[in-house]
């Protein structure tokens, strides 16, 4: 048997042109009165994928999930699951189950009855229900809580009951609406990994809605970033972070420094971007930009170095400024370096050694440097 790690490493059906998507959103639009929650959106999700819909509140991510569950019907377009058009199929006949943000545990039923509810609806014999419920309780490690009512459980336990209940029917697809939103930070971090392990073990397709980018990055195989009902980018967490498709994505995921400028040269030896005030940034060659185009050069704080001396490397970009703010976080230190009025650069330096000979401090002159390939050129 292959280990879970190796399955995960080689899992990339979205790169395989022969693979057929398991769930397809085809030009889906959803309007509520005048408000357009989802706007002509198309999206493919593959079997066994852990897929995250990431966006700020009101971006349409929950609406998308609710349309898949059958609580909302698209105003236009259609949703396919395993080749079958889901239009007009009520929620109780769809092979998907959902874990609700509020958990929505039935308050008048015990943990057992909650988990067995879906099985009972299918008319499964009692003995089989009991066996499946026991299996689910074991899966979420709640065996000794079977007889309790939801109000007798802690937040973390309720979350696991909700998970067990939505998994009990062995749905083809599990939808999770902000599954960890109600947990505190420490419990949330543990649970993220538990969810990923569970998804790998059961071999199911998980679609999770979240506004927490860290959560999406930790758990998902691929992330769709949504804004105003449209998909901004669909990619693996690393691609989203290192090669954002647009300025919106770059700014939405993680922290970023952006230099606006005009392309002066774009050739085999690289690109030169004129940012005004005599600053020219060397960047990697980008096919999509022509000379004279307005572009943005985006670079993550941890890819910049701050030093008291001008670095020797001639290829590197180096900007001189003044240390404006310092945030010491233990594992790293964030420097805000003021290059000029209105241009403050954030740099995150890893504190890899305990002692530094020449520590930088407030109001010191400093050089911020970065290689041409450390950032990306955004045309959108």
């Amino acid at each position: 048997m292959k280990s879970l790690g190796s399955i995960r490493r080689s899992f990339a059906p979205w790169d395989d042109p022969a693979a057929t998507p398991y769930i397809r959103f085809e030009n889906v639009t959803k309007r509520f009165g005048d408000f357009v929650a989802v706007n002509d959106l198309s999206l493919d999700i593959y079997e066994r994928e852990f897929f995250a819909l990431l966006g700020a509140s009101g971006c349409g991510k929950t609406t998308l999930l609710r349309m898949l569950a059958g609580f909302e019907e698209p105003s236009a377009g259609r949703i396919l699951l395993d080749g079958q058009d889901l239009s007009g199929i009520p929620p109780y006949r769809r092979p998907v189950n959902m874990m609700f943000q509020s958990y929505a545990l039935f308050p008048h039923m015990s943990v057992e009855a909650n988990i067995g509810f879906g099985l009972k609806q299918d008319g499964m014999p009692r003995a089989e229900i009991a066996a499946r419920v026991a299996e689910m309780l074991k899966l979420v490690k709640l065996e000794q809580f079977a007889k309790r009512k939801p109000h007798q459980l802690s937040g973390g336990q309720r979350q696991r009951v909700a998970l067990a209940r939505s998994l009990a029917k062995r749905p083809k697809v599990l939808l999770l609406d902000e599954p960890l939103g109600a947990l505190d930070k420490k419990l949330r971090e543990e649970t993220q990994f538990e969810l990923v392990d569970l998804q790998q073990e059961l071999g199911l397709t998980f679609i999770v809605v979240t506004h927490d980018q860290e959560e999406a990055m930790t758990m998902a195989d691929r992330i769709a970033i949504l804004d105003k009902g449209e998909v901004m980018q669909v990619a693996t967490p690393a691609e989203v972070y290192e090669a954002p498709a647009s300025r919106f994505v770059a700014e939405f995921v993680g922290s970023v420094n952006i230099f606006d400028g005009t392309v002066r040269e774009n050739g085999a030896e690289g690109m030169r971007i004129d940012c005004g005030e005599g600053r020219v940034i060397e960047a990697e060659n980008s096919g999509s930009a022509d000379i004279g185009d307005q572009v943005a050069f985006a670079i993550r704080p941890e890819k910049l170095q701050v030093s008291s001396q001008k670095p020797d490397n001639a290829r590197a970009n180096a900007l001189e400024g003044e240390i404006y703010d310092i945030a010491y976080l233990g594992d790293m230190t964030i420097y805000h370096v003021k290059i000029s009025d209105g241009l403050v650069i954030k740099s995150a330096m890893l504190n890899s050694s305990r002692l530094v000979d020449d520590p930088l401090t407030w109001e010191d002159r400093a050089w911020v440097s970065f290689a041409p390939d450390a950032g990306v050129v955004l045309t959108g």
Binding site: A69, P91, S102, Q121, Q152
Partner: protein, 274 residues
């Protein structure tokens, strides 16, 4: 604010309670009066109670009242609950505001008008006045009270519970009986109890819509009092008071106990998350 009561507080409390309960207390005391005269105390006796149980007229009236209350409360609860669900759930149907107003208008409608209009209706459709008409009239006016009670519960009802049930394969009807109804049941029961008591003590509407053979207890008491208050009436009223009070106290004790238990459970559960 401190917990102890000032003299002013005590006086207002005593006056307030005296205002509310002194008449009832007098009634209860005089129901145990030996004398035939209601206002003269001549010693303790329970003879009016035994006499009461041999007064066939009063007993018949009590039995009618009980049956009317039972039947009308049950139908009013079903109708009122359905109305409340429609009004809270189907937010977008045409004329919803009008319907809401129409369901709640009878709450403030003078009883005389309700009674009179029902009487006119029954006469118009040629329904003989009696047990059936009183029951119908009581269903009509108590249904809106049930609707109010159930609606206020439904406003705080978490819709995702129903969605979860449907997501797990329950049809809308089965969702209602397995999830919605059990969750709102306390409010439905309160509504039923309210409808039951309203029917129990209604005099005005019953007088309009009742006919021969369907005299309710309040009607009977009222007609007897017109001939002079007898200690027998005091005894009937005392029994009614005892009946209602026991119900109210039992219900609130049970409720209190459940709340305390729940708070304790929740506190214990929170400790598990460490």
């Amino acid at each position: 604010m401190n917990g102890s009561l000032s003299r002013f507080n005590i006086v207002s409390l005593v006056l307030g309670f005296a205002f509310l309960y002194l008449p009832i207390l007098l009634l209860v005391i005089y129901s145990f009066n030996e004398s035939q005269l209601v206002t003269v105390w001549s010693g303790f006796s329970t003879k009016w109670y035994s006499e009461l149980f041999s007064n066939q007229g009063l007993l018949d009236a009590a039995w009618v009242t009980f049956r009317v209350a039972l039947i009308s409360a049950t139908f009013a609860t079903v109708l009122g609950t359905l109305a409340a669900i429609t009004l809270t759930r189907h937010l977008r149907f045409r004329g919803r505001v009008l319907f809401t107003g129409m369901v709640f208008a009878p709450l403030v409608m003078p009883e005389v008008i309700t009674g009179l209009s029902l009487l006119l209706l029954f006469v118009a459709v040629g329904l003989d006045r009696g047990f059936l008409t009183v029951t119908l009239a009581h269903i009509t006016f108590s249904m809106c009270f049930v609707a109010v009670v159930v609606q206020s519960r439904l406003l705080t009802f978490d819709r995702s519970l129903e969605e979860a049930a449907m997501d797990l394969g329950a049809t809308p009807v089965s969702t209602f009986f397995q999830v919605t109804l059990p969750v709102i049941l306390p409010a439905v029961i309160s509504g039923w109890m309210l409808a039951f008591t309203l029917s129990l003590d209604d005099l005005v509407i019953a007088s309009f819509t009742s006919g021969p053979g369907a005299t309710t207890l309040p009607m009977k008491i009222y007609s007897q009092v017109r001939l002079g208050v007898t200690p027998e009436i005091n005894a009937v009223c005392t029994i009614l008071i005892a009946f209602v009070t026991t119900g109210v106290i039992a219900a609130s004790l049970l409720n209190k106990q459940r709340e305390v238990q729940r708070a304790r459970d929740e506190q214990a559960a929170r400790r598990d998350d460490v």
